[in-house]
């Protein structure tokens, strides 16, 4: 069988023009599919950035909330009720909201304000400049050093701004694991300061962050919170909820899905057409091989091997090319969101195998149909 596969390899690779066209088709399809799904994956990761950065194990929220940016404030009694649930180590309030800051240049800039529990500062970011205790100072804010910080005119410790006619001062610069989706800078302050500086509704708790005594206690906590009319989600569940929201309720998922299918069809049509032409050109030779004595299943192996070989090489090239482009894009555009994940790679691999399967199926049908008798008659 090794010799037959080597024969198949040589037949394919020595036909340089078709081999190149086949690889270009598959590479292009893989590139587009990985690019599309990676961008979507990046968007989903950024959409959950606050959940990732704050790192709370369990989040309590209104069931109607679909993402961190659009919270529905909860009354204070919910916090007290949650704190009294058996299995809760501690529970703290958190504020999340948007605001406009007026920079020194006079420019207004949207920001996300995250208000951390005054007593515990649960969810505080890691500082790269300044001290965390300075967050308690008057007008103190900590700015996140992410791709959006330049929009605040590159603030340093001591930089001042205005927020609803309040003076604000940067007392620290933090780094976080993931920057946000909406391209606006993030400021951390205390919960009390946040509700003092930003016009608020009657209720002000956006989320309650819970530390359970153990992971075994989580189902009980979730049940008890549900009885209150709210929802307690683990970090993963909340991220999944956000992800589902963007996938199924915003049109984003549908658009990316359509683009991915289009990429698949483009790859399929290029490689399918090229492979079919390759088979057609060699059809009489395959017929001659049948006359000489090759068995049907050996011909099938040959064609499958050719298709899978082209698919795997094209897949490698496509993934490599995509990785290169994403890496360069991230170097040049820091807020560029694209994550190549195991899932996106697996998805593209499955799709490329389908391309190889369909392309080879057409060829196999043609080759199996040719009768060696036709070779004599020709």
């Amino acid at each position: 069988m090794k010799g037959i596969l080597k024969l198949a390899f040589k037949l394919l690779v020595n036909d340089k023009g078709k081999y190149a066209a086949l690889l270009v088709g598959i590479t292009f399809a893989v590139f587009l599919m990985v690019q599309m799904t990676s961008i979507f994956s990046g968007i989903l990761a950024k959409a959950s950035s606050t959940v990732i950065n704050l790192g709370a194990k369990v989040w309590v929220l209104d069931p109607a909330v679909n993402n961190v940016a659009n919270s529905i404030p909860m009354p204070d009694y919910v916090l007290n009720a949650v704190r009294s649930i058996d299995g809760v180590e501690y529970a703290v309030p958190m504020y999340s909201g948007g605001a406009l800051v007026k920079l020194k240049s006079g420019v207004f800039q949207s920001v996300t304000i995250l208000g951390l529990d005054d007593n515990s500062l649960v969810g505080r970011p890691e500082l790269i400049e300044g001290k965390i205790e300075d967050i308690y100072a008057e007008n103190a804010f900590i700015v996140v050093d992410d791709a959006e910080i330049s929009k605040l005119e590159h603030p340093r410790t001591g930089t001042e701004f205005e927020l609803n006619d309040h003076r604000g001062v940067i007392v620290g610069i933090a780094k976080v694991a993931s920057s946000g989706l909406f391209g606006i800078p993030t400021l951390y302050t205390t919960y009390s300061k946040a509700i003092q500086y930003i016009p608020s509704t009657r209720f002000t708790i956006a989320f309650i962050l819970i530390e359970p005594k153990s992971s075994d206690a989580i189902p009980h906590i979730q049940n008890q919170v549900k009885r209150l009319g709210y929802e307690a989600l683990t970090e993963e569940q909340f991220m999944q909820k956000i992800s589902n929201y963007y996938k199924y309720k915003t049109g984003l998922g549908t658009n990316i899905f359509i683009m991915t299918i289009v990429s698949f069809l483009v790859g399929l049509s290029i490689s399918g057409q090229t492979f079919y032409t390759f088979i057609l050109e060699n059809l009489e030779k395959f017929g001659a091989l049948k006359a000489i004595g090759i068995k049907g299943k050996e011909l099938v192996y040959m064609i499958l091997f050719q298709a899978v070989l082209a698919a795997v090489i094209g897949y490698g090239l496509g993934v490599g090319f995509c990785t290169l482009i994403i890496t360069i894009a991230k170097l040049k555009v820091p807020e560029y969101s694209a994550n190549i994940t195991f899932s996106t790679l697996s998805f593209a691999f499955v799709m490329v195998l389908i391309i190889a399967g369909i392309s080879s199926y057409i060829g196999i049908r043609k080759v199996l149909k040719i009768e060696p008798f036709d070779i004599f008659r020709s």
Partner: protein
């Protein structure tokens, strides 16, 4: 000793009902080892159909074919393929060489299909290329060779598995007279052995002199078997 080929009442038709057309009707003949048998006749006389049934390519509607005593149409399809690979060497009219393989690789194909080692197969192919006088063309693709040279490559490919039965389909149809005769001289003097039977389908009267016997066909029937001029 069994005849190389024993065909008994071979019949083949195409189409059904009113559209049924007989290509070969109850053809019986024998061919022997050490013999070159020509099958001649006008187009549509059933030569190619007969050749295909004898070589295990086209299943007859009725009748039997025994090659060296083996009734080939009683074998399973994979066994027939195996039989062709081991017992029959084909030289097609259009050669059907793979243009993307070297000459040696083309010749080695039957050995590769027999699952022999690649390098050993190429070595054997080079030996057979030497036999047909193309030793120095082993690394060239067939497209770089002349028609006569391609014919010899096809011949080497048919020879490489040392078949008992060699089948030539219009071997000189696309060659000039001199080249055609050189090929036939080579076949007569170097390919034909006491243990090999050669069957040639041709229209080319220039090479009739090489036949030991000539079987004439018309309308799917044998209308005569003549001794060749060289007898």
């Amino acid at each position: 000793m069994a005849p190389a080929i024993s065909a008994n009442k071979l019949t083949k038709w195409f189409g059904e009902g009113d559209l049924r057309a007989f290509a070969v009707r109850e053809v019986s003949f024998e061919a022997y080892f050490g013999e070159i048998l020509f099958i001649v006749g006008p187009s549509g006389s059933g030569k190619t159909t007969l050749l295909s049934m004898i070589s295990g390519i086209l299943r007859p509607n009725s009748g039997t074919v025994a090659i060296d005593g083996v009734d080939i149409w009683k074998l399973a399809s994979d066994q027939i393929a195996e039989f062709r690979l081991n017992k029959v060497g084909f030289v097609f009219q259009d050669y059907h060489l793979f243009p993307r393989l070297t000459t040696a690789e083309n010749v080695a194909i039957p050995l590769i299909l027999k699952k022999q080692n690649w390098d050993e197969s190429i070595k054997k192919a080079a030996y057979y290329l030497e036999i047909v006088g193309l030793k120095n063309k082993a690394e060239l693709p067939p497209v770089k060779l002349s028609g006569g040279e391609q014919q010899r490559v096809a011949l080497a490919r048919a020879l490489v598995s040392q078949p008992d039965l060699m089948i030539f389909d219009e071997p000189t149809a696309s060659l000039d007279g001199d080249t055609g005769r050189r090929i036939m001289d080579f076949v007569k003097n170097n390919i034909l052995t006491d243990k090999r039977c050669i069957l040639i389908v041709t229209h080319d009267s220039r090479i009739f002199e090489y036949a030991d016997r000539m079987m004439k066909m018309e309308d799917g029937k044998i209308v005569g078997i003549e001794k060749g001029r060289n007898d």
